[in-house]
């Protein structure tokens, strides 16, 4: 779609100014996109490593819990864990990466609290290590949540930026250039036609 513009000098200089701004904006956005992608790839790599670690450890933790579970009747397991003792509170803050607000999760665990809410006579000792592993997993899982959310937000931002860069590069800038070209040609054409007209008038005046 062309930009409708009156072919006059005012309009021409206005469009030229817009073109300059658009080109500057395009460059800036392009730089931002490159930087975002660089950071994003870094983060995705970290995320992947963390995710694999968490998944590996979770499998082990669940396996040890299953084995603990096999040593006791189900209702004893449920009773043992009915009231948990350990409490974790999280505080979500924001941090800014290339104008993207990503969450920062701060974990505070209650220090010195007894992790095991059950007695020892009827429970299997395998439960202890299962609880210990699972409790050590929690900070890592929260860290993973933080990374995954950040990656998601950055991916959104990259897409948005790319759309803008593309809009500038393939739509706005060519349109402006075309219109400028059109106006310049039109103006030149006008000039040429008025010159011919003048020459014609001059000829007619000369003949008289």
């Amino acid at each position: 779609m062309e930009i409708r513009a009156n072919p006059n000098r005012m309009e021409l200089s206005r469009l030229k100014r817009r073109l300059v701004t658009a080109k500057r904006g395009h460059k800036l956005l392009k730089d931002k996109q490159d930087e975002l992608i660089k950071k994003f790839i870094d983060m995705v790599k970290q995320n992947k490593a963390l995710r694999e670690e968490v998944e590996r450890e979770l499998v082990a933790a669940f396996q040890s819990f299953t084995m603990a579970r096999s040593q006791m009747p189900a209702n004893v397991v449920e009773e043992s864990l009915m009231i948990p003792t350990a409490k974790v509170s999280i505080d979500i803050k924001k941090s800014n990466i290339m104008s993207v607000n990503v969450p920062r999760i701060e974990i505070s665990m209650e220090e010195g609290k007894n992790l095991y809410p059950y007695g020892f006579a009827g429970t299997s000792a395998e439960m202890d290590s299962a609880i210990r592993t699972l409790s050590a997993m929690l900070p890592k899982m929260l860290k993973l949540a933080e990374f995954e959310k950040a990656c998601q937000l950055m991916a959104d931002e990259i897409e948005k930026t790319r759309r803008r860069v593309n809009a500038l590069e393939y739509v706005l800038i060519p349109q402006l250039e075309n219109t400028i070209k059109y106006i310049t040609m039109k103006l030149d054409e006008n000039e040429r036609s008025s010159r011919t007209r003048l020459m014609k008038i001059k000829e007619m005046v000369m003949q008289e």
Binding site: M67, S70, M82, P117, Y118, F120, D128
Partner: protein, 334 residues
């Protein structure tokens, strides 16, 4: 003192039932079964067939195990006048229910789940007790234990204290009960199980980096090893505990079980060996033609069998490898 002749009828019935306990070869077949359907097929040829047939899904296997246990307890009760021997084995279910009731009350849950129906005290009466109704038909000792546990929680706000307090109350009552029954066999069995639990508790607390006070509260009464012994070795490395117990009757369990625990960090071997040790005591029941040993041995053997089946079922449902399951499989009675 109970005379062996009082158990003539019950022993007669039990001698028949003993033969229906799962044998090593059945357990091997379950272990080698490829999936849960194959497990159920093997079990359908055993005494567990009616219970497992009723199940809607194999995940409810706990229900089948509980029903089978209840059937066994009822059969034994039917054939005995003196129910105190059965009580020795069912008391722990009542105390489990007490724990559930206490914790449900703290959480404000009206209809507690996870109650066991293997206990002697009706579940409804316990729920009444949990609601604070004075006329609940619950034995005085249990009422007192419940009140004590609730008071302790009010003071400490620590749910572990409830379990520790009620575990202690349970074993105090068991000690009283065995005194009243006055039979060396039960006394010996109780003492051995308390000792083995106490050893385990001490090691667990060491791994938890727990303190002295928790140890004092966690040690159960009724064992032959004095609390002072554990308090002494609590501060020393585990290896010295193994050495200190090397001349006791538990040397086999401790040597293999604890050393395995120290080197691999897994208590599975210790738990298996201590259960096998206790089963060894119970096995007197097979060799005696009639007597308290036969009855107690059979109930204990049934409990052991339920444990074996639980390990097998959980393992098979979750696709745990044969070796890992085998490590945890207890010995069999017959």
């Amino acid at each position: 003192m109970l005379r062996d002749e009082e158990f003539l009828y019950a022993s007669g019935r039990i001698k028949v039932l003993e033969n229906r306990l799962l044998s090593r070869s059945v357990i091997e077949r379950v272990l080698e079964a490829e999936n849960t359907e194959a497990v159920l097929r093997v079990l359908s040829e055993t005494d567990y067939a009616p219970e497992f047939e009723e199940l809607e899904s194999v995940y409810d296997f706990e229900k089948a195990l509980e029903n089978s246990m209840r059937k066994t307890l009822n059969t034994v009760k039917e054939s005995l006048k003196d129910h105190r021997i059965v009580r020795f084995f069912t008391l722990k279910y009542d105390y489990h229910n007490l724990k559930v009731i206490a914790k449900s009350r703290i959480l404000g849950v009206d209809a507690p789940e996870n109650l066991s129906n293997l206990g002697d005290v009706p579940v409804d009466e316990l729920i009444k007790l949990g609601k604070g109704e004075g006329d609940a038909a619950v034995p005085e000792t249990m009422k007192a234990a419940f009140e004590g546990a609730m008071r302790l929680f009010e003071e400490t706000r620590d749910p572990q204290q409830i379990d520790l307090f009620l575990d202690r109350a349970l074993y105090e009552e068991l000690v009283e009960l065995t005194k009243k029954i006055g039979h060396e066999f039960l006394k010996d069995y109780l003492a051995a199980s308390v000792d083995l639990i106490n050893i385990k508790t001490m090691v667990r607390l060491k791994y938890m980096e727990s303190d002295f006070r928790t140890l004092e509260k966690s040690l159960l009464p009724g064992g032959t090893i004095e609390p002072a012994f554990f308090e002494k070795y609590f501060q020393e490395p585990l290896q010295s505990l193994v050495e200190a117990l090397s001349s006791s009757r538990y040397s086999g369990v401790v040597k293999e079980g604890l050393e395995n625990w120290i080197s691999t960090g897994s208590p599975a071997a210790y738990e298996k060996l201590s259960d096998d040790f206790l089963l060894g005591i119970l096995k007197k029941g097979i060799y005696k033609p009639f007597g308290l040993e036969t009855v107690a041995g059979y109930i204990g053997a049934k409990e052991n069998e339920i444990k074996i089946l639980r390990v097998l079922m959980v393992g098979k449902i979750n696709g745990i490898s044969e070796d890992v399951i085998r490590e945890r499989l207890r010995d069999v009675y017959v």
